[in-house]
């Protein structure tokens, strides 16, 4: 317990935080943290894996470790399913491939199949699998059911994976889908509902995967059609014109993808299930009055054509998170913490005046800013950010 030596202070349970909760993160830092050499960890808050409260070594109860019960939304109304099929399929009759995430009772799946599409159903709840499989038998091979959690693909921790958690390589190999170059169109369309409890972390994960060209995006410019709460939807589509909603996620989404709002539907049209497949009662009135938006996220073909590449996207991410930590501050103040290059010089180059605030910058402005610094010729050192910090982040 007591480790003498250099890091006397590492025992301090100190943690520096300025504001909590603005940024969610993709995974618990624990596993990655182990790899950080102790010397680098000093002073940062100690984070230990949470120990299970078990008494001594005598307790004989064998606990089965389940994922925390999370509620999931499913499409239960045939009307909604029909609407969606109309939106997605249009008048097409061709055999299109859809990847449906967490179909649950399979209302939408059925509607899609009826319209003549091919569907891969990724279901993370075992209770629905038999039902879906029996459905698959009826449509001779147009439905493939996989026990898999789409939103937990490629976890960062390196343990062995047991379904429903798996890697995208495993999944795509199993499905026999080849990777397509970025410039080509989307290999398939995915449909799903973001997990209501942690929409934001799911979005962050998707964006990380997209910008780094890993996970599902390794296989091409996947088009996502997602149900997302209206609140979040307005946030990711925000820009300086509605500054109260504007945030890092908005910039990242808008730079990376074309966002199209396809449809809005009340929460009432969805069923909520707990982890073991029970229909849950909807508790909060608020959540009932909310709407869900159906949006389409298509990654831009020319996203990586410029200076921003999967090689340096992490700097871009860091820049945005940093800026939006204090959204009302002047950009110039943030620049001092981002790059050793003279801030005034940078501002002059992007043709902004020195009083410009973070929330006055459009997504394209941020991209321009990033490219300006990244391409600056004079300076040997462009960013203060380095991957030591990345170790902390991811």
């Amino acid at each position: 317990m007591w480790v003498p030596g250099v890091g006397l202070l590492s025992r301090l349970m100190l943690s520096a935080m300025t504001r909590a909760g603005r940024f969610c993160i993709l995974k618990s830092g624990a596993v990655r943290l182990m790899d950080v050499p102790a010397g680098n960890r000093r002073g940062l808050s100690d984070y230990y894996p949470h120990l299970m409260p078990s008494v001594g070594f005598g307790k004989s109860s064998s606990r089965v470790y389940r994922c925390r019960s999370e509620t999931k939304r499913y499409i239960t109304s045939p009307r909604v399913a029909e609407t969606l099929v109309r939106i997605l399929r249009g008048k097409r009759k061709s055999c299109q491939l859809f990847l449906e995430c967490n179909p649950g009772p399979g209302i939408l799946t059925r509607a899609l199949l009826e319209s003549g599409a091919k569907v891969i159903a990724l279901e993370s709840d075992e209770t629905f699998i038999p039902q879906l499989k029996s459905l698959g038998k009826k449509v001779n091979g147009r439905l493939e059911v996989v026990y898999c959690d789409f939103f937990k693909l490629d976890p960062r921790s390196r343990g062995i994976l047991t379904p429903p958690v798996m890697t995208s390589d495993m999944l795509f190999q199993y499905l026999g889908i080849e990777a397509q170059p970025w410039s080509k169109g989307a290999p398939l369309k995915a449909i799903g509902i973001l997990p209501p409890k942690n929409e934001r972390s799911a979005l962050w994960k998707l964006l990380h995967d997209l910008y780094s060209c890993t996970s599902i995006y390794k296989y091409g410019r996947l088009e996502l059609n997602l149900f997302i709460s209206e609140k979040e939807c307005r946030k990711i589509m925000a820009n300086p014109q509605n500054p109260s909603l504007y945030q890092a996620l908005s910039v990242l989404c808008q730079i990376a993808c074309g966002i199209k709002l396809l449809h809005t539907e009340s929460c009432l049209s969805f069923g909520t299930y707990t982890a073991n497949g029970q229909l849950a009662k909807q508790k909060h009135r608020e959540s009932l009055e909310q709407n869900l938006c159906f949006i389409q996220l298509t990654p831009h073909r020319n996203l990586f054509a410029g200076t921003l590449t999967p090689f340096n996207y992490d700097v871009f991410f860091h820049m945005l998170r940093q800026c939006f930590m204090k959204r009302n501050a002047k950009l110039i103040d943030h620049l001092h913490s981002l790059s050793p290059i003279d801030a005034m010089h940078i501002l002059k180059q992007i043709k902004k005046n020195k009083d410009v605030k973070v929330i006055d910058m459009y997504p394209e402005d941020f991209q321009h800013l990033f490219e300006t610094i990244e391409c600056s010729k004079d300076d040997n050192y462009k960013w203060l950010y380095d991957d030591f910090m990345e170790d902390v982040i991811i």
Binding site: S15, T18, D35, P340
Partner: protein, 1235 residues
């Protein structure tokens, strides 16, 4: 919006926020000086003239500064700004002379004179400036006019407030009456009258409160801050400021509640020391007004002051009478109040006036204190002829020389050591870089002085507004010292930066530590020299005694130590200093970008990093600066003097806060920073109860060490070459898979035709390489410190002072180089004192060598020895040609120690008479699974005891193999019943898989942690089907726990009992406490987190601390921590007992927790002592004692006895687990108990 100030330009920004008319430092100091000058004469007329002079200078400064700001704002030519800036700097130079408030009143006059001169000088500059530019002149005048107005308006407000504002009307009118009548009636009479006014409001409550809160009584954060503020003010001679803040707080009822008696007393004491009776009376008024009852200290201060002023007897008599009425003993003034000799004399003078015959009681002769622990009876028994305490091999003269060396090191506070890194070729480039660095440092020094002064200014300003600013703290150290400290910090900052919080904390602590340095060097020198007579080889003492006893006999106990500062103060102070550093450190931009214009850019940047939802502020040096340091390759390392082993025997521990280093106070019990509960507990403990721990620590620290030169040479050779990670010598950075240019993209990354996926792959590869490089670098730095220190200490004798953690486990104080480290670190050390091997020494050396190889763990001692004899050729070969021969040693478990042992064996066998060979080599004896040994002995588990070698047996038993066997039994049963995992695991259950889990289970590893450990082992097995790892590890950890339960049934119930007790204690709202068999009080410092936030400046800092006793205990940690901590407190007791008894027998003894070291010749004696003491320790009714203690501590309070938790706790505590039938005496004959 929280006040986050941005790193760059923060200085200017911050300053610009001030009202333009704020007087500068000088003005404030002037006002202060006025007060100082006044206090002797005791008149209220301020020294107008002085102030005017100061104002003149201050104004000018302010104007110049304002001018600089204005020019900067208008973006005028750089040059002009610089010129003006220079003037400001010059104008400030004389200010530096006058800035330090004179400590003694007479000095005030001199200071004022200097200031006057400065004023005339600066007015000349002002004229010059005027003639420079007409335009500027106009502006300046305008400004000046404005300034003048403000100054005049604010002059009186700036005065420090002396008169109290009393809340009680009666007292207020009394005061008024007194003041009006001041010329006629002497104040003393007033004081006497005032004293008779018994405090009405709170007296009864106040008296009851301390007793009421009992052990938990503790100053709350804010109060702690106030107290340390006053203390610092006193220390730095800013008494009027302390008074001012006291008055300000007193006058607001909200804040008054924070003030405690000790704060009034402290300010009063300050006035008393100066003989300022008027101010003292003011404080007394306030004290009464707050409804507090004066205590001995208050009276001591008042009387002392009267003594100094030579008051008449009547007043003093009245004062003494009142004291008697308050139920305070006159004797108490001399025994219970800590006083310096001078204060004592003054006090006595006053008392003698009233009572001419009074004789103060003799300085309290420490009553014959005897430790009551039955375990230590022998140790402290009077005169035993068998005692032969060891002596050092050095003569008195040599030791005195060493003392002088150590004294010099500690007075310098830091020590510079040459690094063992390869000497760079002194190319032009290197020389140029060094020159640049030197130039930069000179520049920074000046800039730091300036920034520091500006910071002091603003803090002084804040203090004058009644806020608890950092001003007195900043004055604790001389500016020179602070600047030096900051420059060192900058030098040592790692390239990837350091968290601001960490940095701030460290800086703050350093200030605190340095402030504490003792200064009675001469007295120490004399005493220490006498003390050495006990240790030196050529001196005699009257009767043999322990070092502590000898030291205590040489003089009176020392003054009480100072309270630590609250964490928030430490961090705030450190942050302030860090900000000074950020603002001051600048370098020319040409270092970063060769073609840029030569402007100045900051060296340090405040950047953010994200950890989960937290944002962490990091201070990071500019990469160009890191590069510069690397190129310059300066080969020196700077250590704090307390981080390096001592060069003379440490001071013996005489109390929880005195011992070890000569000048720097060290705590006997280290604990989480900011926690006080341990210290409080230790202080409350009767001193004699701690004797066991004090003496054991002293004894461990008294072992003299030296460096094993041959091993060091070999390691250095490897280190300078390419390293050897397999042998624990880290490779130099050049060996790392280093990407060519930092994190910059390889050229391919810019090519559009490379696909995004490939770029992503490149990024991952780069990140991987950087990570490896970074890990290597941190390992390398660690080794660099250790080896550099080793080389520094080579050819010297040194000592490793020890202290202990909150459970009583002992550790050396010096972190980098000690015997607790890795194999390599241990191999570098040997005893400085030699002992002839004697008849059996060589055998023990051989056995030790085989133990180090780890090859014959389950063989008898005889077999191990024979094995060594068989391999003698290899051993000799290793010793002679370690790097070129057969390299047998490299295959050992602990290669470097094995090599060192090979060399020792070789020397011994080649000696003409091996028995006479003088060996310095430490031989180890390890407890086999020591935690379980203690559990088995506690629970008298026969099966368990046998498996951990408590029972005599021909061959060593191995608990890990036995657990593995037991697990295998369970597995087979399950496999037969068709459990799939059990079938898969067939043939994979081995000792190795279960070892770590079994080992750590006693120390509280949970199923979760245990599963991770086993998972790791399973992954290492290549032919194990990896798909099953999770399930299998899960299954295995369960079976390991079950097996342990089967074998150690008593252990299991004890563990449960401990856990349950801790849970219930925690629910009653207290932290678990207990007392070790040796009498050390222990408390678990686990509380719910409390958050402290420090706003403003670069960044707001928040830290959570789990040691705040005002928070509820953290039940989970309290209960999970209790069993392992309790066992640790037992194993430390065992070690201390062994140490003390070995010392009586004249042995050299040190320990690494459950691994005991001594000379080869003495192993047999040590083994015998070790076994005897284990039996004696466990013959005590340990659990019953614990139960009794806990009942008394937690269940005896009548107020809480009705609580359901308390009654449940009572039930649990009364049902002490039953024990088994194991006969403890058998341990004495067990060869492999420790082996």
């Amino acid at each position: 919006m929280s006040a986050v100030r941005w790193g760059r330009g923060a200085a200017g920004f911050g300053r610009a926020l001030w009202p333009a008319g704020t007087p500068g430092l000088l003005a404030e100091e002037g006002a202060l000086g006025g007060v100082w000058g006044r206090k002797r004469s005791s008149t209220a007329s301020p020294c107008e003239q002085d102030r005017r002079k100061d104002w003149g200078h201050a104004e000018l400064l302010e104007v110049l500064k304002a001018r600089v700001r204005q020019l900067q704002a208008e973006g005028m030519a750089e040059v002009t700004v610089k010129r003006v800036a220079k003037r400001v700097a010059v104008a400030r130079a004389p200010e530096a002379g006058g800035a330090q408030p004179p400590r003694q009143a007479p000095a005030g006059a001199k200071g004022a004179g200097a200031k006057g001169a400065a004023a005339t000088l600066s007015s000349r500059w002002a004229q010059k400036l005027d003639s420079d530019q007409q335009l500027m002149e106009k502006r300046k005048q305008r400004l000046e006019g404005k300034l003048q107005k403000r100054v005049e308006k604010g002059a009186w407000q700036k005065q420090l407030r002396l008169e109290p504002r009393l809340l009680s009307r009666k007292l207020a009118s009394q005061l008024q009456h007194w003041e009006q009548g001041a010329p006629r009636s002497p104040w003393e009479e007033q004081l006497a009258q005032l004293l008779q006014e018994a405090p009405h409001r709170l007296s009864s409550e106040a008296a009851a409160a301390p007793a009421d809160r009992g052990p938990e009584s503790r100053l709350e954060g804010q109060q702690q801050r106030l107290l340390s503020f006053f203390e610092c003010c006193l220390l730095t001679g800013h008494l009027p400021l302390a008074h001012h803040v006291l008055v300000t707080h007193h006058s607001k009822s909200q804040q008054q509640r924070l003030l405690t008696l000790s704060m009034y007393n402290m300010v009063m004491l300050g006035w008393a020391r100066q003989g300022s009776f008027k101010e003292l009376t003011y404080v007394f008024f306030m004290l009464k007004d707050a409804g507090l009852a004066p205590d001995l200290q208050s009276y001591a201060a008042a009387l002392q002051c009267m003594g100094r002023l030579d008051q008449d007897a009547g007043t003093i008599r009245r004062c003494l009478k009142q004291m008697a009425q308050d139920g305070l003993q006159l004797q108490g003034l001399f025994t219970a109040v800590p006083l310096s000799a001078e204060e004592r004399a003054e006090l006595l003078r006053a008392v003698r006036k009233a009572k001419p015959t009074f004789t103060p009681p003799r300085p309290p002769v420490p009553p014959p204190q005897v430790n009551t622990s039955p375990l230590l009876r022998e140790i402290y028994a009077k005169q035993d002829p068998a005692v032969s305490y060891p002596r050092l091999h050095l003569s008195l003269k040599e030791l005195q020389g060493l003392f002088q060396q150590q004294l010099r090191v500690e007075m310098a506070t830091t020590i510079t050591v040459e690094s063992v890194e390869k000497v760079p070729l002194l190319t032009k480039e290197v020389l140029h870089a060094r020159k640049t660095l030197a130039g930069l440092r000179t520049r920074w020094r000046t800039a730091l002085y300036r920034e520091l002064q500006e910071t002091k200014e603003s803090e002084a300003h804040a203090a004058r507004e009644g806020r608890l600013s950092l001003f007195p703290y900043l004055c604790l150290l001389s500016e020179k010292e602070v600047v030096r400290m900051l420059l060192q910090t900058l030098q040592a900052l790692p390239a990837q930066g350091e968290s601001l919080l960490f940095l701030a904390h460290e800086l703050g602590l350093r200030v605190f530590k340095r402030k504490q340095l003792r200064n009675e060097v001469q007295e120490l020198e004399q005493r220490y020299s006498k003390y050495l007579h006990l240790l030196a080889s050529d001196t005699q003492v009257a009767e043999p005694c322990l070092p502590r006893q000898h030291w205590e006999a040489l003089g009176v106990p020392e003054a009480p130590h100072e309270q630590p500062w609250p964490m928030s103060v430490v961090v705030q102070l450190g942050k302030q200093l860090a900000e000074v550093l950020v603002r001051a450190a600048q370098m020319p931009s040409s270092l970063a970008a060769p073609r840029s214009p030569g402007t100045l850019i900051p060296v340090l940047y405040h950047v953010y990093s994200f950890r989960s939802f937290r944002q962490i502020g990091i201070l990071k040096p500019h990469p160009a600066f890191t590069q510069l340091l690397e190129t310059a390759a300066e080969r020196t390392l700077t250590f704090e003097s307390t981080d390096v082993p001592m060069l003379c025997p440490p001071l013996p521990w005489t109390s929880p806060h005195s011992g070890a280093f000569l000048l720097s106070p060290t705590k006997m019990m280290r604990s989480v920073e900011g926690s006080q509960q341990h210290q409080l507990l230790l202080e409350r403990c009767p001193p004699a109860e701690l004797h066991g721990a004090l003496d054991a620590l002293t004894q461990l620290g008294n072992c003299a060490w030296r460096v094993n030169g041959r091993v060091l040479d070999l390691v250095l050779q490897l280190f300078a070459d390419k390293g050897c990670p397999r042998l624990g010598v880290p490779a130099p950075p050049s060996e790392a898979p280093r990407p060519p240019e930092g994190r910059r993209a390889p050229n391919r990354c810019l090519l559009p035709e490379v696909s995004p996926a490939e770029k992503a792959e490149m990024r991952r590869e780069l990140a991987r390489r950087l990570k490896v490089a970074r890990e290597m670098q941190s390992l390398r730095a660690d080794a660099l410190y250790r080896l550099s220190l080793a080389r520094h200490l080579r050819h010297r004798v040194f000592w490793l002072p020890h202290n202990m953690d909150f459970r009583g486990r002992t550790y050396p104080c010096s972190p980098h180089f000690n015997h607790l480290g890795s194999d390599l670190a241990r191999a570098l050390l040997e005893f400085a004192q030699g002992r002839p091997l004697g008849p059996h020494g060589l055998n023990w050396l051989k056995i030790h060598l085989v133990n180090l190889t780890g090859l014959k763990k389950r063989e008898s001692l005889q077999a191990r020895r024979d094995y060594a004899d068989e391999l003698m050729e290899d051993i000799l070969d290793s010793a002679d040609r370690p790097m070129t021969g057969r390299k047998w040693w490299m295959e050992a478990d602990e290669p470097w120690q094995a090599l060192a042992c090979c060399m020792e064996v070789a020397r011994a066998v080649r000696a003409p008479d091996p028995a006479a060979y003088v060996s310095h080599f430490p031989v180890h004896q390890d407890g086999s699974c020591n935690g379980l040994q203690h559990y088995a002995a506690l629970g008298r588990d026969s099966v368990g005891a046998a498996s951990v070698n408590l029972l005599p047996s021909d061959l060593p038993q191995d608990v890990y193999s036995e657990v593995a066997a037991q697990v295998e039994v369970f597995r087979r049963q399950d496999a037969e019943q068709g459990v799939q995992v059990a079938q898969v695991l067939e043939g994979f259950i081995s000792r190795k898989v279960v070892k770590q889990t079994v080992m750590t289970v006693v120390y509280g590893v949970t199923r979760y942690g245990g599963r991770l450990q086993i998972e790791k082992r399973l992954r290492e097995i290549h032919d194990f089907p990896q798909d099953f790892v999770w399930e299998a590890s899960h299954y295995l950890v369960r079976q390991v726990f079950n097996s342990l339960q089967e074998m150690f049934s008593g252990t299991r119930s004890i563990q449960r009992w401990l856990t349950e007790s801790a849970r219930l204690i925690s629910h009653t709202g207290s932290a678990v406490e207990w007392v070790t068999p040796l009498g050390i009080p222990i408390i678990q410092p686990y509380h719910r987190d409390s958050k402290v936030m420090i706003k403003g400046g670069l960044q707001s800092l928040t830290f959570s601390s789990s040691v705040d006793t005002s928070q509820k205990p953290n039940t989970l940690k309290q209960k999970n921590g209790f069993p392992p901590n309790f066992i640790h407190s037992l194993d430390s007791s065992h070690m201390m007992l062994t140490a003390l008894h070995c010392y009586r027998k004249g042995l050299t003894f040190v320990s690494v927790h459950d691994c005991f070291w001594t000379h080869a010749a003495d192993v047999a004696v040590m083994n015998q002592v070790c076994r005897e003491q284990f039996v004696r320790l466990h013959s005590q009714p340990i659990l019953h004692n614990l139960s009794r203690f806990l009942i008394e501590r937690f269940c005896s309070d009548p107020r809480t006895s009705k609580s359901i938790w308390v009654s449940r706790l009572m039930d649990t505590l009364l049902s002490v687990p039953k024990t088994g039938t194991f006969n403890l005496e058998q341990v004495k004959h067990s060869t492999y108990f420790f082996s």
